[in-house]
Each structure stands twice: as C-alpha cells, then as structure tokens.
Symmetry: C2
Subunit: 368 residues, 2 copies
Amino acid sequence: MTTTRAEPQPADFADVRTTNLAVVLRHLRAHGPSSRAAIAASTGLTKATVSSLTGDLIGHRLLRETGPGGNRIGRPATVLALDGSAYASIGIQVAPDQLTALAVDYSGERLLLWHRAAGDSTAEMVGLAQRAAARVRQQGRHVLGLTLAVPGDVDGTGLRDRVAGSLRQKDLAVTVAGHAALAAIAERRHGGWANVAYVSGVAGLDAGLIIDGHPVRGGRLGHLTLGPAGTPALREQAGIAPLVRRALPDLDPAAQADLAPAVEQVAIRARSGDTTALSALKHAGSCLGQGLAALVNLVEPEVIVLGDHFATLAEWLIPAASGELARLAPALGTDLRASTLGLHAAALGGAVSHLDQVDTGRLPDNDR
Amino acid sequence: MTTTRAEPQPADFADVRTTNLAVVLRHLRAHGPSSRAAIAASTGLTKATVSSLTGDLIGHRLLRETGPGGNRIGRPATVLALDGSAYASIGIQVAPDQLTALAVDYSGERLLLWHRAAGDSTAEMVGLAQRAAARVRQQGRHVLGLTLAVPGDVDGTGLRDRVAGSLRQKDLAVTVAGHAALAAIAERRHGGWANVAYVSGVAGLDAGLIIDGHPVRGGRLGHLTLGPAGTPALREQAGIAPLVRRALPDLDPAAQADLAPAVEQVAIRARSGDTTALSALKHAGSCLGQGLAALVNLVEPEVIVLGDHFATLAEWLIPAASGELARLAPALGTDLRASTLGLHAAALGGAVSHLDQVDTGRLPDNDR
C-alpha cells in the first residue's frame, strides 16, 4: 500500500468509474437518502453519469429506491438510500479477558454484538467467527469480510493464516489488525476526522493513528519512555492494568485482571472520593498527558479520543492529562475527549473497515 | 489537501490522462532515458497511449528525443529523456545566519547555488529571490515556483504574502514551508523512501516527516520534553546551538552564533580527542536518541536521516543515539544515517517540490 500511494499506477476509464462510484456512496453515507438530481447537484457529476452509477449500485444491491422524496412541486423524485440488506461485515475483538463479535450491515446498522468471557485461543476465535458468519448468512447476506482486532504486539500474519485455515467458511476474507488502529477507523467514520488518534487500554497502551484520512503504522504509545535510563515505559505508568493495581490495592490479582469490572470499581470509588483511587487516576492521567504531548508535537492530531477503559475513567484522566498537554504542547489546540463508542470500538472498526473498502468504489463481487 | 485525500473528488477522463502522464514522468525520472516501447512495456500502458502522452510532454518541453537507443537489431528506437532546458524551480533557505538560493532545472540539474551571509529580513529574501528568478529567466526558462524554507515556528502565510507582495515578478508562485519538511522532500527524491524522517538543526530542532510517501505536519522534535516537570525541552539538550555552547565553552557568543564554522570547529576538536567536545557530543547524541526513539515508536520511519549540522557531527552523534534507540525502541529496525545533501537540503527540497508537482502529471501552463 505504501508503494501504491507513493508511486502512481497506470489509470484507465475503470478507475474513473470506481472513483465516481465512491463519490456517490460517500455522498449518501454523509447526507442520507437523496434524489439522483440532488446527488448530481452536490457532487458535480452529470445527471446521466449519476443515473448510470446508481444503476450499477442498485444492481449490486448497495442502494435501493425508497419512493418519492420531500419536494412538493411537480413529479416527486425517487429517492435513493444505502441498502443494508444484502451485505454484512464482521469484527472480532480479541482481548485477554474476553472475545467480542460485532457485525454490521452495509448501511452501518448493527446486526449482532456477542461477548464471550474466554481466553484468546485460536480455536475460540474461530468458533465465534464461524457462528457470527453463519448467523448473517442465514439472513441471506453476503459477508464482505472478517477482521480480527488483536493486541498491538500480536503477529497478525501468523494469526490470520491460522484462523483462515481453521474456518469452516473457506471463502471468508480474513484480516488481522491492532485494536487501536481499528478503533481509530471506527472513530474516523463516526466523527469524520482526517487526523485522529485513538488511545486504547484493552491490552497494554496503544494509539491508533489516522493521518490525512489514512491509517498509519506505529502508535506504540505504551513503549514511550519519558525520562532517564531506569524510567519505566509509559504502559507501566498510564496503562489500565497498573492503574487498577494502584487504585484498588485491596483487590486480589484475579479480580484486578478482569479489567472491565475492575475499571467500573475504580470509577465508583473515585466518585465516592476515595483518595487512593483519585491519586492513582491523577498519576495515570499526568503520565498519559506527557505521552500524548509527544504525540501532539510529532503528528498534531486534531482530536485525541480516549477509548475503551480510558473513556470510562475520562472525567478524572482528562483534567490531569490536559494540564500536561497545555504545559508540554502549548499552542497546538488538540481536542482531548472521551470516546462514545464503548469497549468494543475495535470490533466495530474491524467491521466497518470492509464498508470503507466498498465506499472507495471497489464493489463486492458476490456472484449474484 | 487533507480533505482531498480523505474524501474522493469526482473524476473524469482528464484525471486518467493526468495519472498516466505522471506514470510516464516517474518512469523516466527513475529509469533514465527510455524508448516509447520500453516505457509501454514497463508501465503497462499501450504503445498508442504512450505515444500520445509523450507527444504531449514533448509539446510542453518536459521531454526531448535523444536519438537512437542502444538496441542493435532492426531500426533503432528513438530514446526519450527528461528535458531540463525549459523550466527552473527555486528554493530559498532562510536561516538566522545566512540565506541560500538554489535553483534546479526540470531534470533536477542544479542551475545555481548562492549563499548570502545575511539576516532574515523580508527585504533580503525578496532581493535574493528576485535575482535568482531573473537569472534563470535570462536563460529562457519558465519558473515553476519559488519556495521559502523557514524555521518551523515562522508564520508561513504571513511571510508568503509579504514576499509575494514585494516581488518584482508578480507572476511567481510563492510557497513557504519549514526547513525540515522541505529537506525531507529532498531526501524522499534522493533516496526513494516512502517513510523517512529528516532531522534538521539549522534553526532549533525539527523533524520533517514523510509517511506513506506523503509529507505530514508535525515533527516538532525539539518541543519534546522527556522527563518530569522542570526537564528542559529536547532542543535545549540536543539542538545544535546548545551543543556548540557545551562543546566550545571558550568560544565567544558571536562566534558560537555563526553555526556552520562553529560546528566545523566542534568536529575538529572531537577528531583531536578533545574531551569537552566529545562529552558534549555524547550528551546531545543520547538525548537526540531518546527523542528519536519516541518518533520511532509513534510513526516507525524506515530511515531517519541526520541532516545539515547533525550530518557534520554524525560520526559522534550516531553511536550515542543508536544506543538509546536500541534501548527504547528495540525490534524496530529503523536505519539511522547521515544526510549526504549538505547544509542546503531545505533549499533543494523547496526547489524540487515544484518538480514533484509536475511529476504528478499536472503540466505547467507556461503560455508557450
């Protein structure tokens, strides 16, 4: 991909059509149901081109006609809308404490959200993926793809080959990517940002980076070491697991390891004014802010979204982190906020990443 | 630009031609003089398309025919080469201690390189730019553009408007960008890297970042603060001016401020084993390495190029910096090396940035 974006490839008329299919799909994604005339007026494409493109998209069951629009004068124009019914896309989020399966249709509507308290064995991932794929296919849907969201340090290629090799459905396109990178893709679609960083704490401490609209590699936020030799890495200072250990010293290790309820407990104690929890949150927030200041100085995201477990604790983390951001990256007005996508944003990102592929105009080949 | 890359724009057949013009120009840039048949074979474009594209490029005087190629059997094929003669592009590098003007022709050959020991007043920039533009126009060349390379903290828009407003040649397209960002563009063209960071010390401490082949904003390396409150920013630890002050404590401030000769003096003393110079270099190299480790963990460049004054001192800085990189960003095999483009890489980057524009297939309109 790097090379493709760096070096131009020969183009032909098919590429023009692909680009214009993308323009129409993005218009409907952004503006909702529209008439052919409205699409033409807004995109600058001719009505004839729009009719040809939308005909192709209706043929692929990506669009459907939804009858007369709102304009009262003259013959009512037929309105086109994204058609969710024919396609599904699946994301599987793999965390140390649980597996999550999430599927959406092409219009972005959620089809299923399953949680399994489980380990991260390949067999368990494969089992959950197979059940999710079977369910949406029972609904008569073509599966655009299956993406596994894994901790940043997992060998994606090896896992993809193992999972693809074990799946009953050999025709499923399997992708593997990091939690934070996929969650950032979900935030890009949700918020429409071209430059966004998503901070994930479901496994260690990672940042998913979207720069100029494109996901980029890196984001090993937890690996930053902000001090002289001997200073622990940021994941030891601002990661969720060490935060839980500091905030809930009385909790036994097994309970601490079950992150979601432990994080809820931290929030409950902080709300009740527990000084141990509050000082642990202040320490984690300050350290996180120092790491985010480095991120802001180096790549200047418009928005930093505190995701998953960090979002649960955002009301205490953001004040401490903002103070460090203001001290260390002044004059760069980065918006620091909590994610609204919940604990399974990576699963959502894995699912919508396949919708994004279609939205680039590369229409699915589902042998209709 | 962000939006353009994030959101597809309607395409037409002109875009296909633009893309294919870019493919032909990039081929000749990368492979040197080639026959039409060789271009077709290598790019996958048809011979008819290549003939039409090259005809257009010859008409714009971007290509010229250079007579028979090397193939011995049958009628010798005419060979096409990039034609430098019709166009020039100018970069002006603005540093506290001197102004540099550099111009290249379209084939990348250097046309002029002027240094002025001067301040950074707009009047002096304008004077130098006017003389450089007048010189290449006397040679009958169309000027593709003029780019000012300035310290990272300069307000580019304000400066561009002042300079464009003061220039005698009102038709000159003026751009302003940071030293490091432009030097990174020069390194991308020189080394062909899609992911490269250029470290510049001509004014403070900045990194120019190319990610997936595209320049991105940010790179405020000198603003990183790698430690608790009270720790000085990285530019105070690893910048060239503080390094000179530590390495040459006996030098008077005026001599220290003249960076190029002072840096040469540091190199001479280090080579002679001067312990003060060597320990200053070791300190700066280690701090630089800690900052580069943050950069590597966050955006994983393939190559980090120590540029301008850092290149002069690379033989002492790289060992210290590599040690910190290995400690803080293990398992990420980033290549740390010295630039070979000298002290005016930013001026070169400013000039070649306009060649890059033409290489995307947007042919200059020089009212022939």
